[in-house]
């Protein structure tokens, strides 16, 4: 009997990135999300007779940015092709895409795993194409409604090599790619609105077997958590099928998040023959070295470059640097906090990743809408660094800042929260606590160490949390050890 450890998963991902242009890839219709059905579908998008597609230049620029970001080859000449199939949300009867000669070829995406392992995942290709419309099955009685606002929205399909070996690696790849397209400002990265969609190709094989197993394709999984679950489910399912003597059928499967399972959508045995051929309406796309150089000039710092810089410049751990560089805005917020504060970068990182992100999460807010600016947080952390308040009191101040939008300093003054650094006064308080609690004192001296915390608690109670924790510890230790 073999175990799961005898098997190896082989995963390749296809990601559809919606490019953040104002107009569509081949027409002047708007791409804005959320419009009423068909208000943003023009004659070109509807496939009316006599219309011709004209390429949006920005779409090509964005593909070049991606290509440069993953250190890929950018084809000096690429071809648009027609992929023919029948579906009512595809009014022309074909999708314009790139088939044999895609614009971006052979790149690499560096990823970091939680355990610190660094991998470089090959990207086979990235090609430009138009999105299809949307079929709505629910609102109409025995009919399907077609909304063509999305028809012609520009997509960049990014195809990885089958080099990922676990769902965790797949998620790390997706998160890094997501960060990259957001850094490059070629995609708004909105998963809920479908701006970043993933299809996962999964197969399994016995470890050491050079031959690939039959793969299945799980379609359109739109959250990182679901990708992880869908892949795990599919790996377990395939191993089970093979171990019980069955065969994997090459097919397209759909992930059902509610039931946490994938199920067969259509078999590839009777696969569509897409009859690809060069689109006669579109001429070959030529990208000059000058165009590439111009795009390269304003390429921003990339997520992994920022991660390395954070580790070096701020002496952060690989984990902290990875979290803080995962979103462009988060990295920026962190750096602004450090700039505005006299506290250490590590303390700033802890607060940004801990209290700030937790509060944003709890209130379902994006970082851009944080009631506490980086500058205000920096000022609060300065108050900890110069021992005006303790870390514990800072949490109370943070909460008050969150709701009142008042500065840390004002709150500390108003609420009288300044930390008591007067050693003499503190000694008096500690003396009286020790004499009021002879039983606990005796027990502590007999070896009940954990009562130390009890005494600290009493001091904090009497000083309403304003005692300097370091001073409390030092003085308490002294007094408790002296007979």
């Amino acid at each position: 009997m073999s175990t799961n450890n005898d098997w190896e998963a082989v995963i390749g991902l296809e990601v559809h990135v919606q490019l953040a242009t104002k107009a569509k890839i081949f027409s002047g219709a708007s791409t804005q999300y959320g419009a009423e059905p068909n208000r943003q579908a023009c004659a070109v998008d509807l496939g009316f007779p006599g219309v011709l597609p004209v390429l949006n230049r920005e779409v090509v620029t964005m593909a070049i940015r991606l290509g440069l970001g993953i250190n890929a080859q950018i084809a000096p000449r690429s071809i648009f092709a027609r992929k023919n199939y029948f579906y009512p949300d595809l009014p022309k009867g074909y999708q314009i895409t790139q088939f044999e000669l895609p614009i971006v070829q052979q790149g690499h995406l560096p990823i970091v795993m939680d355990d610190g392992r660094e991998l470089s995942i090959g990207i086979t290709r990235a090609h430009l194409e138009e999105d299809a419309g949307k079929s709505l099955h629910e609102a109409f009685h025995q009919m399907t409604g077609i909304d063509l606002n999305r028809a012609g929205v520009p997509l960049l399909e990014i195809v990885s090599e089958p080099e990922l070996r676990s769902s965790a690696e797949a998620v790390a790849y997706l998160k890094t790619l997501h960060a990259l397209v957001c850094y490059l400002e070629i995609c708004d990265g909105n998963l809920q609105e479908g701006s970043f969609r993933c299809d996962a190709n999964v197969s399994v094989r016995k470890k050491g077997d050079p031959k690939l197993g039959t793969r299945t394709e799980t379609k359109n999984v739109n959250s990182f958590r679901f990708v992880e679950r869908a892949i795990d489910y599919e790996i377990a399912r395939q191993i089970q099928v093979l171990e019980s003597g069955g065969k994997i059928i090459q097919e397209t499967r759909l992930y059902d998040a509610e039931k946490n399972e994938t199920r067969s959508m259509r078999s590839k045995e009777n696969a569509n023959d897409y009859r690809y051929f060069p689109d006669p309406d579109l001429l070959p796309l030529e990208v000059s070295p000058e165009w590439i150089a111009e795009v390269a000039k304003d390429l921003p710092e990339l997520p992994w470059q920022k991660r390395q810089r954070f580790e070096k410049e701020y002496a952060l751990s690989a984990y902290d640097a990875n979290v803080l560089s995962s979103q462009k805005t988060l990295g920026h917020y962190f750096e602004e906090t450090v700039k505005a504060s006299q506290a250490s970068a590590k303390l700033c990182a802890n607060w940004v990743m801990g209290d700030l992100l937790a509060a944003l999460n709890k209130n379902n807010l994006a970082l851009d809408n944080s009631p506490i600016s980086a500058k205000s947080l920096g000022e609060l952390l300065t108050q900890i660094a110069n021992e005006t308040i303790s870390g514990k009191i800072a949490k109370t101040v943070f909460e008050l800042m969150w709701t009142s939008k008042t500065s840390a300093k004002e709150i500390i003054d108003r609420e009288g929260l300044v930390q008591n650094n007067d050693t003499g006064a503190l000694e008096k308080i500690i003396d009286s606590i020790l004499s009021d609690n002879p039983k606990q004192l005796a027990e502590y001296r007999e070896g009940k160490d954990r009562l130390f915390g009890y005494f600290v608690g009493e001091v904090m109670k009497q000083t309403r949390g304003k005692a300097n924790p370091n001073q409390v510890n030092t003085i308490l230790k002294e007094k408790l050890s002296a007979e």
């Binding site: 107009a23 002047g28 509807l46 390429l55 099955h137 001429l283 070959p284 796309l285």
Partner: protein, 93 residues
């Protein structure tokens, strides 16, 4: 090429093909395939593939929204619409 292939091609192309037309279509397709064989027999190793008959490159436009909403005009031509959507016979895969 057998008649089964013709049936399959007709299915993929979503063309209704009455059984009595199968033989005739098959024969026509055989002629087309003979022509393809003839073309493929040519040595094209030193000839650059032609993606387009014009020796020109694709022009592009700036990223500007130029189209206005003309939904009412487009939908006036549609057999059925509801809630702003075009209606088609139910399709669920």
């Amino acid at each position: 090429m057998s008649s089964i292939d013709v049936k399959n091609i007709a299915y993929l192309a979503r063309i209704a093909m009455p059984p009595q037309e199968l033989a005739d279509t098959e024969q026509k397709l055989q002629q087309i395939f003979a022509l393809i064989d003839h073309l493929q027999a040519q040595d094209t190793r030193n000839i650059e593939p032609m993606a387009h008959p014009l020796a020109l490159a694709q022009r592009s436009l700036p990223d500007v929204v130029t189209e206005s909403d003309q939904r009412d005009k487009f939908q006036a031509l549609a057999p059925a619409t509801e809630l702003g959507c075009y209606l088609v016979p139910i399709v669920i895969e």
